[in-house]
Amino acid sequence: MQAILALEDGRIFRGEGHGAKGECYGEVVFNTSLTGYQEIFTDPSYAGQIVVLTNPQIGNYGTNLADNEANKPYIEGLVTREFSPVSSNWRSQQVADEYLERFQVPVISEIDTRALVRHLRTHGVMRGVISSIETNTDAMVEKARAIRKMDGTDLAKTVSTKARYEWETDGPDPLSQPKVLELAASAEDTRPDLHVVAYDFGIKKNILRMLSKEGCRVTVVPAETSAEDVLAMGPDGVFLSNGPGDPEPVTYAQENIRKLAGRTPIFGICLGHQLLGLALGGKTYKLKFGHHGGNHPVKCMDSGKVEITCHNHNFAVDPDSMKLSDVDLTHIDLNDNTLEGMRHRTMPIFSVQYHPEASPGPHDSNYLFRDFRNLMEEWKR
């Protein structure tokens, strides 16, 4: 099956089609992680985006239920250099190709992904179309231009859960058999004694897993749940999740956060961090081609140590805009000095732009979940 990728600026790539036959539209971003394509497929933060993976060999180890970050893939489409028709791993349950086909995700492979990445690096992220049915490239470029821009779009609402629910661990983790894989858990399991209400703007399962590993009972609530309703649940702390799209239009969440601030401990990740920034009076801006990968050095200002971290964000909080907001800037990206984390000086609030839950990515920052736990315990006293 032949496929074409067309970008809004007219650049065309011709390759092989896999996954679902058909067409998909989205903002084209590249991710430089060497491992964890399945986690990337299923990360709701990728809603509205076509993902280019720089690792040329994708699909090698297949897919399995345990590694899902959500119950279905959220990427609109996948671009890769070579897509493995076979899978080889003791945990593999389904070949990546079939998996994406099942969920209607088109894939284009056998194209010069490095050329594409260099194009995006130079000209910035842009909209694009993958099609295995359309051959008229002009028409495709038109379609790309017609795609709704990310900026100013509230996607959190669309991916958020419709109804509140209690998080139960997603079944016995097949990974916990070989003892050594448990290393992933930074903390020994403790019985839940804290209650966290987690706003779902597109939450990743591993965040929930990490919270319960830290001994938290987690109630996941829709993005638009009011601060009052949340407080009514008597939480020990509130978590603001990651999610897709532009934080600015998500005004309702900023409102609620303002109301919650100071009344309960708050921990935000990614979009949650951006919403906090806005709620505390800061500004956000769009990065040229975003941060997507598992190798970003982030300096933790408290310890002076560098964490290798997992990133997935196109927007960021402008550090200067936070000057008046009474927060400390706690984490900085050493590659480009992007603000990656902050803590409020008086209120029990902190957040990071990157992904301490990793999955995929290094576990260097798992400790932040322990920090959140400690914060909640102090607040209780």
């Binding site: 430089t32 040329p56 060999q57 250099r81 260099r118 990968g293 140590k305 290094p362």
Partner: protein, 1105 residues
């Protein structure tokens, strides 16, 4: 934490001679470390016994000691240097960096520290502290450590005697792994399937372990094997540079495994678990700073992960990881050792981002080892826990298929891929039992229609890799059904994207000739199917790269437009191998340094990840590519497309580029220096013979034979003994000395195949002739002789395998003059531009003038260039490359050109000695001959020959005894020299033991000699004496077939007991002189810089680079 200002001086220890398990990678790491430390303004002192290294170039350290890597010599260096430091009075500490010189440096550092020497001179270990080293290297401490941090390891027990070993094996069950503590490349390690094997391997292992202990370990054969390259700084930042997956599963040493980066078959959860584990190991072992290598095994069906080992130093794998990612591990390690933290060091390649990150790559890297069992008949060719390969190649492709195929053709097996001699009947065995040819059998298996599952079951290789190999075989099969006309561009492109070479295509189309290959190339061009070049940038293009480190791939976009600067392409020497080793890489690097100074853009092409030449800051542009016509032409055409002035150097990379020279020239590539035609002429027996006649330079009488009859007739005519060999061979492959017609016919019938085009050469063998090696520079007009090296061993021992001395120890002035005349004549007659190497054999007859014969002429850089450069202080390769770009000797070496004098070596003697891999191939016959078998070399310096020789021997691992007993067993031809030799040893205070014949001869001469039985005669025999430590030195010259068995037993025992064995009379004489010198009990060390300063001034000395 910034630079440590409390340190003033740093000693860097190198890894010594090239041996199996420790190759050029440590010249690469050592060189990087020295450069980095010097750049930081420290006073750098270097010690390494290997002259053929870049790191021992005088510019790289403030003082460079080419001395034995033993406690006493390094102590002397520490003593002198710390004294100097004190006298300088500028304060500051003296530190020792032990982590860039492989296992050798690490063990030496431990020794120096345990024996209190470091304390005595107040020297601080940096990079890795003693405790950390011990914790990592001592298998038991390591196991405890792993248990403490909850990591799984194979069950094991440490034993120091046979019984305990057998008992434990009984408990855990066979097979078991035996691993000696503190040996490199797993020397003496092994895999035992039964009690008997266990006893054998264990006893060897206990012998080889410096601490006389071995680990017996549960086997995890067939598990997936991984390596992580880890770095840590003083602020406890830890990063993973690269993950490497072994395609050959557990059971085959990583150094003997085909490995792939990055890891391909791990999910993120598994990989991160491994990453966490590696970081824990790093912290628990306590490696404060620098790079380490942690190895894991993963069960393919349960994911159970166990730690195998960690190396608290840079390693072969970290060199590979550096080349695979563009992250210079050794360089950064050196900076971390002096206090910097990772976030303070910029990433060389992006410049904008810090070194504190984890490289991510958008291509696949494959490494394949190179073995040379053909040189060691009788060696066990099965691959196991002990490393046996002599070198390796690496290839970069956008996909695994592409990189695998590129790596395969980088190997230069000489065999056509797919056309290897395979034994279908033994397919199963060949798949199950790992041997060098296993991959060929995998491909063969697929051609035979076996399924991926079946092959996976037999090889325990991951099906993912096998699937891709099958895909390639299938595509090739498809193409086989087509031909040049019928094939579609799509299919052709697909094939090229899978990395298949034009040569292979020409083959499946039945035209494996130069024309056939050219036709395929034309066809490709017609369809516009050409490779593009992409960058290795550590970040998968997320940031702009400032460093042109390139690889070719069949993809869309080319990122590496050539510059308009005048440029020179230098072809490297490919995988390290016996006869073509690091010496050639040394020359290539020097060409790059010199021409960069002369303001050329220097472009390196090579495929050997271990080397300095493939370091991205050695040349202006680095192409990591196979050295085949196709790949080299692609590079040339790409570079030439800028229209800039361009030339190619083929003279420095050994035989590899030379074999391409004519075809490159035919394809229109301007070759610099000596013309390919001259090179060819020198190789062509007939034409070269004619040239010698014209110049009337004698050559051993010879004949050419294409049949047994011709050979016998020829031998009769020229007279026995004769030397028979195939034409066009390197390193004396398949050469044999025949003393009678029966030997000749045996050789012709059994040993070799030959043909009209490839006849057999029969030469009269010059007995007891002194061999001489000459290196000279020539610019078509003038000739300067760089060095006349007199071999210690007589002609008949390959020049690469014999020790030699500069200046020639005892050649008559007249003889030297003859050698000079012949050299000049030949260099000019061959229109040499650059370097030329000549070998002479000199027959001495009492009362008559010496007769000088030419054995061969190589119009190219030779193995001895670095050694001569170190001895004379003149960078020969630099001058040669300048000559090739049109500069003249009159300008570069004015005095010598005018006066006709050779380059001086001053008042000192420089002895070069070879190093052999016997300990890796127990049971292999150690007798030296015309076929080269040494893997590396060392140099000894002193103001008298004896001491220089003794030091060289010591560096080569032969510690000459000061007293005790010498065992003599010499062949009849050597008996004439026997008496005088034995007398020398007695005068030195030695007792003599000898076997029957030898003893009689000595007794007749009235010498006191103890008789001993030969092995077959009875007990106690000589082997019993050796094992009983009754013998300190063995002089055993080969006696041919009949006693062969005895010799084998003797030499094997000698290796195990570490008793120096000398196999020629000449070397025995030299040893006597050496022992005499040693008996003076001096330990003298000489920094190169001082030796050179004493030499008459030469402006080429220390040309800045």
């Amino acid at each position: 934490m910034p630079r440590r200002n409390d340190i003033a001086k740093i000693l860097v220890i190198g890894s010594g001679p090239i041996v199996i398990g420790q190759s050029a990678e440590f010249d690469y790491s050592g060189t990087q470390a020295c450069k980095a430390l010097k750049a930081e303004g420290y006073e750098v002192v270097l010690v390494n016994s290997n002259p053929a290294t870049i790191m021992t170039d005088p510019e790289l350290a403030d003082r460079t000691y080419i001395e034995p890597l033993t406690r006493e010599y390094v102590e002397e260096i520490l003593r002198i240097e710390s004294e100097m430091l004190r006298e300088a009075g500028r304060g500051g500490k003296f530190a020792l960096l032990p982590t860039v010189g492989g296992q050798t440096a690490l063990n030496l550092a431990v020794d120096l520290s345990d024996s209190g020497i470091l304390d005595r001179y107040d020297v601080e270990l940096i990079g890795a502290k003693l405790e950390a080293i011990k914790k990592a290297e001592d298998r038991l401490l390591f196991k405890d450590a792993m248990t403490r941090i909850g990591l799984d390891m194979p069950r094991s027990a440490l034993v120091n005697n046979l019984r305990d070993g057998v008992d434990f094996a009984g408990k855990i069950g066979f097979p078991v792994i035996i691993r000696p503590s503190f040996t490199l490349g797993g020397s003496g390690g092994g895999l035992a399937y039964n009690r008997e094997e266990l006893m054998e391997i264990l006893s060897r292992g206990l012998d080889l372990s410096p601490v006389h202990e071995c680990l017996i370990e549960e086997s995890v054969l067939g598990w997936k094997e991984y390596e992580l390259e880890v770095m840590r700084d003083l602020a406890d930042n830890v990063i993973i540079i690269c993950s490497i997956e072994n395609m050959d599963p557990m059971g085959v040493h990583t150094g003997d495994s085909i490995t792939v980066a990055p890891a391909q078959t791990l999910t993120d959860r598994e990989y991160q678990a491994m990453r966490d584990a590696a970081i824990r190991v790093m912290r628990e072992i306590g490696v404060e700073t620098g790079g380490s290598n942690v190895q894991f095994a993963v069960h393919p069906n349960t994911g159970r992960m166990t730690v195998i080992e960690m190396n608290p130093r840079v390693s072969r794998s970290s060199a590979l990881a550096s080349k695979a990612t563009g992250f210079p591990i050794a360089k950064i390690a050196a900076k971390l050792a002096v206090g910097y933290t990772l976030d303070e060091i910029p990433n060389d390649i992006t410049k904008m981002t810090p070194a504190c990150f984890e490289p991510t790559i958008d291509y696949v890297v494959t490494k394949i080892p190179k073995w040379q069992f053909e040189k060691f008949p009788g060696a066990d060719e099965n691959l196991g826990p002990q490393m046996k390969s002599v070198g390796e190649v690496m290839a970069i492709g956008r996909t695994f298929k592409e990189s695998l195929m590129k790596a395969l053709r980088s190997l230069e097996t000489g065999k056509k891929i797919g056309a290897e001699l395979l034994e279908p009947k033994r397919l199963t065995q060949r798949l199950v039992t790992p041997q060098p040819e296993r991959l060929s059998y995998v491909r063969f298996a697929f051609r035979q229609g076996l399924s991926v599952r079946e092959v996976a079951r037999m090889t325990a290789m991951d099906p993912w890799f096998l699937y891709h190999i099958k895909e390639i075989t299938d595509t090739i099969a498809k193409v086989g059904e087509q031909n040049g006309e019928s094939i579609t561009p799509e299919l052709l492109r697909k094939l090229k994207r899978q990395g298949v070479s034009d040569e292979r295509i020409a083959e499946v189309w039945g035209k494996p000739t130069n024309d056939g290959v050219a036709e395929v190339r034309e066809l490709r061009y017609r369809h516009g199917i050409k490779p593009v070049f992409k960058l290795v940038d550590t970040c998968a293009a997320e940031f702009e790269s400032m460093t042109p480190y390139l690889y070719s791939t069949y993809d869309e976009e080319d990122e590496a437009a050539p510059t308009a600067k005048r440029k020179v392409i230098i072809l490297g020497s490919g995988p390290n191998r016996i006869g073509q080793g690091i010496e050639f890489d040394y020359c290539c690097c020097h060409a790059a340094f010199a021409l960069k100074e002369d303001d050329y853009e220097t472009i390196m092409v090579n495929c050997n990840p271990e080397t300095v030449s493939t370091d991205y800051d050695t040349s202006d542009r680095l192409y990591f590519e196979p050295l085949t016509l196709e790949d080299v032409l692609a590079v040339y055409e790409h570079e030439a497309s800028s229209g800039a002035e361009i030339g190619m150097i083929v003279q420095f990379g050994g035989q590899t580029p030379l074999n391409l020279a004519l075809r490159l020239k035919a394809a229109g590539v301007p070759i610099l220096g000596t013309s390919p035609e001259s090179i060819d002429l020198a190789e062509d027996r007939k034409r070269f013979g004619k040239l010698l006649e014209e110049l009337d330079i004698p050559q051993p009488p010879g004949a050419i034979a294409t049949s047994v009859e011709e050979a016998l007739a020829g031998a009769e005519r020229i007279g026995y003994p004769v030397l028979v060999r195939p034409s066009y061979v390197l390193g004396g492959r398949a050469m044999v000395i025949a003393y009678d017609s029966e030997a000749v016919s045996r050789y012709m019938k059994e040993a070799v195949e030959y043909s009209q085009e490839r006849p057999i050469l029969v030469d009269h063998f010059l007995e007891d002739a002194v061999e001489v090696d000459v290196d000279a520079l020539c610019d078509k007009k003038d000739v300067v002789i760089a060095g006349i090296m007199q071999h210690i061993e007589e002609a008949g021992i390959h020049s690469g395998d014999s020790s030699c001395v500069l200046p020639a120890a005892d050649l008559a002035p007249a003889t030297l003059e003859t050698i000079r005349t012949y050299t000049r004549k030949l260099a000019l007659a061959l229109n040499v531009v650059g370097l030329v190497n000549l070998q002479f054999a000199i027959q001495r007859r009492a009362g008559q003038p010496d007769k000088v014969f030419v054995i061969e002429v190589n119009p190219r850089a030779s193995r001895t260039v670095p050694y001569v450069s170190k001895a004379t202080g003149v960078p020969l390769a630099k001058i040669a490359s300048r000559l090739m770009t049109g500069r003249k000797l009159r300008e570069l070496l004015p005095e010598q050109t005018a006066s006709g004098r050779d380059l001086e070596t001053g008042t000192h003697f420089y002895v070069k000695s070879p190093v052999f891999p016997w300990n890796k191939f127990p049971g292999v016959d150690m007798a030296l001959g015309p076929e080269m078998r040494s893997t590396g070399e060392v140099m000894g310096v002193a103001d008298n020959f004896g001491e220089a020789f003794a030091k060289a021997q010591l560096s080569a691992g032969q510690r000459l005894p000061l007293k005790g007993t010498v065992f003599f067993s010499v062949n009849d031809r050597d008996k004439i020299h026997l008496v005088e030799l034995a007398r020398d040893y007695m005068e030195l205070g030695f007792q003599i033991v000898a076997t029957e014949g030898t003893a009689n001869k000595l007794a007749q001469a009235g010498l006191v000699v103890e008789r001993v039985y030969k092995v077959k005669e009875g007990r106690p025999n000589v082997v019993d004496l050796i094992k009983g430590d009754r013998i300190q030195l063995i002089v055993n010259t080969t006696q041919g077939q009949d006693t062969f068995f005895d010799e084998k037993a003797i030499r094997r025992a000698a290796v195990l007991q570490r008793i120096p064995t000398i196999t020629t009379i000449a070397a025995a004489r030299a040893a006597a002189e050496g022992i005499e010198a040693l008996q003076q009990h001096q330990t003298n060390v000489y920094p190169l810089q001082h030796l050179h300063a004493d030499l008459p001034s030469r402006h080429t000395r220390y040309a800045p680079s």
